[in-house]
């Protein structure tokens, strides 16, 4: 074989491999179907309203429900614990007085999610219904999304979790990033997210999830009637979690 033949063969192989790769990618992409993806863009856009004024001091119903429902990893070490939703106490200075508030923090399911933008494998993506979700089977664990998220809402499974209360949901294995899914599996079957359900059961009624594109929905009504705020709005990420009383 002379050099010319060798070059031809090498070129041919490279071409064949790369075209094969893209054909494969096309097949995988077209075969992909998460129920939320099938919703025509614009019909449903899930959003959340949190009425902090009603949130009960010391209550952890939503946190516990989330952990149980989604088998969220808990190791008892604040370096590795995963919190899809967490409650913080924050101090705000108004004049000379300082006021303390309990605030629930979770993934904001941004309309322009920086985490999805930076994901090198499109494992984090926004569904047509606006939920930002991680594909656990695709994530390579680079943690670039955690760097990009301005809300510290993303967590990494630093170690395997033994916690597996809800066997209908996957057990959490180490090596992938994750965040609140807004209980997409529940919303897809017409149920409310676990945190919302638990909160309603306590009678507090802090959390509301609904369709932001429907002006008659409870969340749209609340946003229209009450003064609401979103976190770090100036960043332009368009978060879909609205706070009352922040």
């Amino acid at each position: 074989m002379d050099r010319r033949d060798f070059m031809k063969m090498t070129g041919g192989t490279i071409l064949a491999v790369s075209s094969g790769t893209y054909a494969f990618q096309f097949l995988v992409a077209s075969g992909r179907s998460v129920s939320g993806d099938n919703i025509a863009a614009g019909t449903v856009r899930w959003g959340m309203v949190i009425d902090l004024n009603k949130c009960i001091e010391g209550c952890t119903a939503c946190l516990d429900a989330c952990r149980t429902e989604n088998n969220v990893a808990f190791h008892g070490d604040n370096r590795w614990d995963v919190h899809w939703i967490r409650k913080v106490k924050a101090e705000q200075k108004i004049g000379t007085e300082s006021k303390e508030k309990s605030i629930l923090l979770l993934c904001n399911h941004c309309d322009k999610p920086p985490c999805a933008q930076v994901c090198p494998v499109q494992a984090t993506y926004k569904r047509n219904d606006g939920i930002v979700i991680v594909d656990h089977h695709r994530c390579i664990g680079c943690r670039y999304c955690m760097i990009a998220c301005p809300y510290n809402a993303r967590y990494f499974n630093m170690k395997d979790s033994e916690h597996w209360q809800n066997e209908e949901r996957p057990k959490r294995s180490h090596g992938v990033a994750e965040a609140c899914t807004l209980c997409a599996h529940r919303l897809d079957t017409g149920r409310q997210p676990a945190c919302v359900e638990a909160c309603n059961n306590t009678g507090a009624g802090v959390l509301f999830v609904g369709n932001l594109n429907d002006s008659d929905s409870e969340v749209s009504q609340l946003i229209a009637d009450r003064p609401t705020k979103r976190l770090r709005e100036e960043l332009g990420t368009e978060p879909k979690v609205h706070y009352i009383g922040l």
Binding site: T21, F24, Q25, V28, A29, H75, N78, R79, W80, D81, V82, H83, R86, K87, V88, K89, A90, E91, Q92, K93, E100, K101, I103, L105, P114, Q117, V118, C119, P120, V121, Q122, A123, R138, C139, I140, G141, C142, R143, Y144, M146, I147, A148, C149, P150, Y151, N152, Y155, F156, N157, M158, K159, D160, H174, G175, V176, A177, L231, R232, L235, L246
Partner: protein, 415 residues
Amino acid sequence: MEIIFEKLEGKSLAYRMAMLVFAAFAVGGLISTWIVIEKGICVTGMTNRVPWGLQIVMAIYYIGLSAGSLVISGLYGVFGKQEYKPFARIAVWIAMLFLIAGMLSILTDQGRMDRVFVEPFVHFNLQSMFSINPILYSGHIFICVVYLWALFTERKRFTTIIATIAFGWAFCVHSGTGAIFGFGARVLYESPLLPVSFVTAAMASGTALMILLIVGLFKITKRYLDDRLILWLGQFLAVCILVVVYFLFIENAYRAYVVELRPAAMYYLFEGLHSILFWVGLILIGCVIPMFILFRKKTGQTIKWIVFASSLVVFGVICERYVIVLPGLTHPQEILTGMHITQSAIQEGVANYTISLAEIAQALGVFGVIGFLFLWGMKFFKLMPTEAVIYDQIGMIKRNEYQKRREAKSIKSSE
């Protein structure tokens, strides 16, 4: 004058010992990586607040060394400086290896290493800097292979072409790496200047490393090396450091000047371990002392001092990489504007990060693999020139003197 390249014999005790040490490092790295795969990233110093650590620091450091050493080969390939031809092959070889080192560091840092070889290539995301960079990296390795081939087969015209491409590509590679941080959302990352300052720091560290490598190799293998070649590199290194300092000054002055960024600037410059690394490691050891040595006439013209300054720069740039990656993460993000979080289930405020043994073992492991490959290559490829001479009057006189001295020495020792 034709330059003859040859393989190293690779039978000396020093060679074998070095191979053994590198292999031991590599094994240590492998064991540590296996533990990380088994147990998860919890064995490292990284946490949910500080998701990147030493491996990322080392990755961008290695990539910098790669881009920098390619510049040295470019002296011959692009700018046609014949006197630097003896170093061209080694420079490209080391450039290729250090890029592989960078990729190995990134690979061993991933949560799911098994997916890295497929997913990034089949689910490409053009909007992500992390997606664009692998193309630049693999392209860089491919170009280095072609470049080496051109050098081995002595194709002059083709060498110039591929060297020019490689030179430009190295700039893109390093700007791209800088952009991973510079285009990021963190206060201490975000800076359009970062890709540019990345390139200059890369050039400084790459040049310093090449000086160490060339002087070391020629000394150990007892080959003639014209001092003036290194003296010029020393001056080039000094200028590179000056540019690095200039960029560092602009970047920090900007942050300290803008009211909104001032708290972050104060944190960066004066709080915690990274500020010590910044002032002592980077500014004093990595910049001020080497510049003083290199710009001073007496020391700047002495090989020993240049080698000393180069080793300081090689260390200083590791610090530079550390103070790029870590402070940006340990510095708290402002989630709730105007509020202060007093109680939380995760670490709020300034987060801490301590380098763990596992990460050190991994970093040394990558270094071991590359060191091993480097020495192996020196034995199996014709990379090492028989001598490095400037073919002018002074150069020839100096070389002849050197040869006479060596002959006299060998006669003496045989007697």
